[in-house]
């Protein structure tokens, strides 16, 4: 597992609907907004890249210093974005695929309004478990 990893799900309206710091490093106060900045800026790149390929996993799309942004775009144009400093592409791919499944389960919940914030604690626990497993 990389020392820094920030996972975020961005809805099709560019609103973050789920955020999790999944890195093993001790969380620094200023890191959170920095991560948001990087991920937010990376959306510009995703916007271009997403339509050039049919694959959902876009691999590493952007980087900032030694931090890399990997992105997975679902069919509904929800973007799963991971900011990381490790180089484990296969692990990230698996992580994204499983989180995508979890996200679909969330979507199937009739009480969940697509595009709204994901507040399920079960989802959170599962994502963190996946992060420990793959990243």
């Amino acid at each position: 597992m990389g020392s820094t990893a920030c996972f975020i799900i961005v809805s099709r309206n560019d609103i973050p609907i789920y955020e999790a710091e999944v890195g093993s490093a001790i969380k620094k106060e200023e890191a959170t907004h920095q991560h948001q900045f990087i991920l937010h800026a990376a959306l510009d790149i995703v916007q271009d890249l997403a339509w050039t390929t049919s694959a959902m996993f876009l691999k590493a799309v952007d980087r900032f210093n030694d931090l890399v942004v990997s992105v997975y775009v679902t069919a509904g144009h929800t973007r799963l974005m991971l900011l990381h400093d490790s180089r484990n592409e296969d692990g990230i791919r698996s992580f994204f695929q499983e989180v995508h499944e979890l996200y679909i389960k969330i979507l199937l919940n009739p009480l969940y309004l697509p595009g709204s914030r994901i507040t399920s604690s079960h989802f959170d626990t599962k994502v963190r478990a996946l992060a420990r497993k793959y990243l």
């Binding site: 106060e29 907004h33 948001q36 900045f37 937010h40 990376a42 959306l43 510009d44 210093n65």
Partner: protein, 1321 residues
Amino acid sequence: MMLAPSETRMVDPAKTFLGKMLLEEITPVVMVLRTPLVEEACLKNGFNFVEMLHPFCLFKNIDVPVRTASDQPYRLHKFKLRLFYASDVRQPNVEAAEEQLKQVVVHAAERDVSDLHSDPPELESVLNQTKPEALPSWFKIFNKELIRTLAFSEHEAFDHPVACLLVVSSKDEQPINKFVDLFNTNQLPSLLNDGAMDPKILKYYLLVHDNQDGTSEMASNILTEMRGTFGSNDCRLLCINSGKDGSEEKQDNPWSAYKNDVPLSEDLGCLLNVNDLNEIKDLMQDLSSKHIIPHMEQKIRMLNQQVSATRKGFRNQIRNLWWRKGKEDTPDAASGAMYTFSSVESQIRVLGDYAFMLRDYELALSNYRLLSTDYKLDKAWKRYAGIQEMMGLAYFMLDQSRKDAEYCMETAFSTYLKIGSSGQRNATRCGLWWAEMLKARDQHKEAASVYFRISNEEPSLHAAVMLEQASYCYLFSNPPMLRKYGFHLVLAGNRYYLSDQRKHAIRTYRSSLSVYKGNSWNYIKDHVHYHVGRWYAILGMSDVAVKHMLEVLACSHESISTQELFLRDFLQIVQKMGKEFEVFRLQLPITNMPSLKIIFEDHRTYASSTAVSVRESLWQSLEENMVPSLPTSRTNWLESQPKYSSKKYKDSSICVAGEAIKVGIEFRNPLQIPISVSGASLICELSARSEAAASEIGGQYRDSLVSVSRQQNDTEFRKLVSSWEQNSSNSLFTLSEVNFSLGGGETIMVQLSVTPKVEGVLKIVGMRWKLSGTVVSYQNFDSDDAKRKNVKGRRKGKQSSSKNLEFVVIKSLPKLGGCIHHLPKRVYAGDLRRLVLELTNDSESSVKTLKMKISHPRFLIPGSLEDMNVEFPSCLERQANCRNSHVQANTVKGSNSCFSFPEVCTQHVLDVDIQGGKTLLWPLWLHAAVPGSICLYITIYYEMENVLSEMKYRTLRMHYDLEVLPSLEMSVQISPCPSKLQEFLVRMDVVNKTSSENLQLHQLSSVGWEISSLEPDGTICPSELLMDGQALSFFFKLKNCRKPLTEGSITSARLLQGSDVSLDPQGSNEVLFDISSSVLEDFYHYERLHLGKSIQGHQTTVDFILISQSQVNSVNHEPGWQSDSTQLFSHYACLCSIASTSPVWFLMDGPRIVSHDFSISFCEIRLRMTIHNSSNAAVSVRIDTSDATSSTVRLSDVAAASQYSVSSGNQTGWRDVSLVNDIKITSDVSSSLISKASSPDGITPFVWCASSSTRVELESMSTTEIPLQICVFSPGTYNLSNYRVHWDLRFPEDKALGDGSQQSSGISPGHPFYLNVLQSP
């Protein structure tokens, strides 16, 4: 694919920004050596010699024919010379250069400070800007300055002087010697001295003559002398200062364009006239076209030949490679000292650079290429990178092979970085060129990333500028990458702040806000707003600072420490402003507008806040018959006050002067840290009655204004503030101020109130509170109306939302307050106690016609005034004298009954006693009928004594919750007594279900029946104290004592007849309670009502009342309540059915044992059957007998014998019978006997004599006897149950089958009757 369109679009690389820059920057350098007198002459014009020549170094169309190395002719059009003093031809001082760069940045910041106050630019306007406008011009200046810091490096030849201009004044003594001295002094640049470049340099000799010093004759002489000494072509005379001071007016000063950073002085070049200018122009033209360009051309040819001879061709290449390999052993000489001007490498470099400067890019490129491999093999990395850089530029200028150009720049950049700190600045320059190259090709995204890479290598100030340029690249890219733009602006701002450029920092952050505005990436927004706010505060612009800080206050997602930081800084800034800061709709704490709840009292008044929250419809149904129909209250006063009948006030609510209107609203603290709020109060407008008409017009005007909300906010805010200020001086109403503090994440409901003092129209506009004593927030209510739900149902439901904060205030009225004293929250079921209702009237005028209604009369009933003074519970005890008839007169029974207070009492208490403290006390009786939670609603109606008042009546609503815990549970089983007609056996099971209460059973009463103990001495049970959880069973005998209906049924309508049994172990030494006492009886009535039965008319059911007592009062610990007194519990078990459903009771009677000598004859036995009609109607009864079978006899014989043997020890006879049939005495016992009896058999042991069917008619409540007879033929035990009783009710004509629940006819099987017939001896 993406590149294709741009490839066609870009026509000439020389026209691009980079091309222009290269044409300006990579041009021949002319070193200037001059005497001080020359300088003196020039300074009269306000500039030095080089500055004087500067405008004339640039040739727009020089049109010089040049030949390439391969004799291809071409013409040079644009050309530029760079002139430097010899002292400047060296590496610039690092500190000075840094300072210079900083000045550029600071200067730009000063210019921008003006618009720091304005709002940040909108995103649309940013996007609409075309590129050159949007990019601040000072970036170019900065970049140029940054590149200049690298001038005159050793490893690059294009900064090496091509020619040397030696200038001597005509005033100088021995000018020829001066010329020689100038070049020979040791002040020549190190480049020439240490062998980096060829000291043999083109020289040009210039004599400057100042016309103010006299005529030019002497100068001409010197010139002739010079020509003789230095050669005729290389010498020239320049006359300046020919004009009179200030007389020469030039249309456009050629110097002004170059010296724009100093204030433009008019005397710049004031002494130069047109001739002088022309002469300078000619000089420069001559210098470049006749000397420098041909010189360079010639040098190119020479070098080219030399290079071709040594390096070109296959043989040379092989040799070169071998030779290089041999050199590999020598240590790396990165310093470049090994390459002197005479080395082949340097010569190639010079060749390349000269070719580049003369636009022969192909030649330049081929030489660079040749050289780059050499340097690479030599590991002279800095030179290698320099060559790569030039290759990239040459590729660019040739406009071919973009990939190669980029590859070269990339290699150069990374190679510079590889060699460490010495190459850093070179890398920057390379990067800048690279970025420009990419920008020229519309590859803005790539350019941005190059800028970003540069920023990593530079100190923070430079990095900031680079990052800002990167951000603009993202903005200009197609499509615009706004998020990247914002991010890089923030990065730049951060660097600016680190290098103390706060204004720049604010500027960049503010620009980034246009991107981040309105997005929901919380941390980003907080970061930007917080920092902008803080920096503004540092600059002392608190008002703008606060505006930004307000944005970050409600940051519930941040950590506690961040929240504390934000709040602390915010409050500090506010304090710095030195006054109370007023803000519209502060987000801290958050007000929950949908929770807005307005409580006011018109004709409905409430005793407590819980009564307010009860549904209006509930009250209405309760008050249904009590109050006059609703609209009367309004129309009445509206008619009397036509002023208010206008449409405007039709929907307004009514309130009474002097009575508070309460507004409840929720405040939520979004932070995890506690905050304190003080002085929360409402903002109201009250126009007194006389002004109402005037304000109406104003109000309409205002309504028409409320259309555009965006700008409205501000005016709304102003209005709130002004009306608040008006309030403070106004005494038309009083406002409550609430102070409270909110813990982290806490939500509280705050109740604010306003009390109007005069009549008029009151409007609640908004509210105001103060955060931490410094920030005042105003909030209006109207704007959120759309979202607000109507709290009070009908009261506001139909009204338009803008109106329901308006109240018509009417004259003050009397208002009753009320409460019930000592009403416990929890009681045990069956608890019976007396409560006191207290009504107070605080006003001056009096009220009349008090009425009261209670929602649950089963639980709570009003008592009579006499009940106040008697002692409880002894007042319920049976007394000698009979009950008074007072209660009966007053209380009206029925579920919708309404209790009117006797006029006498109210007269006495409320009307007569007008002085303060008018209080009416009235007793109420509470009986907790069933376990559960009960809401008691009490409404009291009263009318105004003063008929002129605007309201006729008011109601007081009270609400109490009562929790009833289970206590005793009583169940009763009744079965007919087998031996006696009209007598029943009662089994009562009592379970104490309380948790910790010991209950003492006191008495059991039955209504309408006579109850007595089974035991003759009257004791029921050894202990009647029932512990918690304990169960007991009691047995009683019950006898019908009811008279037939015909006798005096009217008189018994009210008073309960019945009998009581004491359950006390001591017997009857304690007084029994009178169940016909008013309270017990009333509750009994309501209990019956609850079951839906009238009190009379059922003979087959019995009602029991169990009364118990508790000595220890553990339920109720309220102080002031006598805890040592006994508590009384009464339990009602109504409609306990007696066993038989048949209205006809019958009993066989006769001898049980008969001795007879069967040898003589068979035995005849006479029996009697007693039949009783318990119904209200006449009945016809028929008795059918059928002969018994032998098997029945035998069966019952055996059974009887075995039963006898078992139970022979038992003394009490009635139990024997029960054993035979079954354990329980229930009504279905007989059914089992029928089946036994019906089995067929041949021999009959006995036969019924006389007729097999007897019919009798029985009147209601009458008894008759029918004789029966059997013949027995042999001794044995006989069961004489093989008969049936058919009965048929004969209702009178008018009452035909009125009661559907009762059967009109039926068949009852015979009761078992055992007869022993013995053979007499």
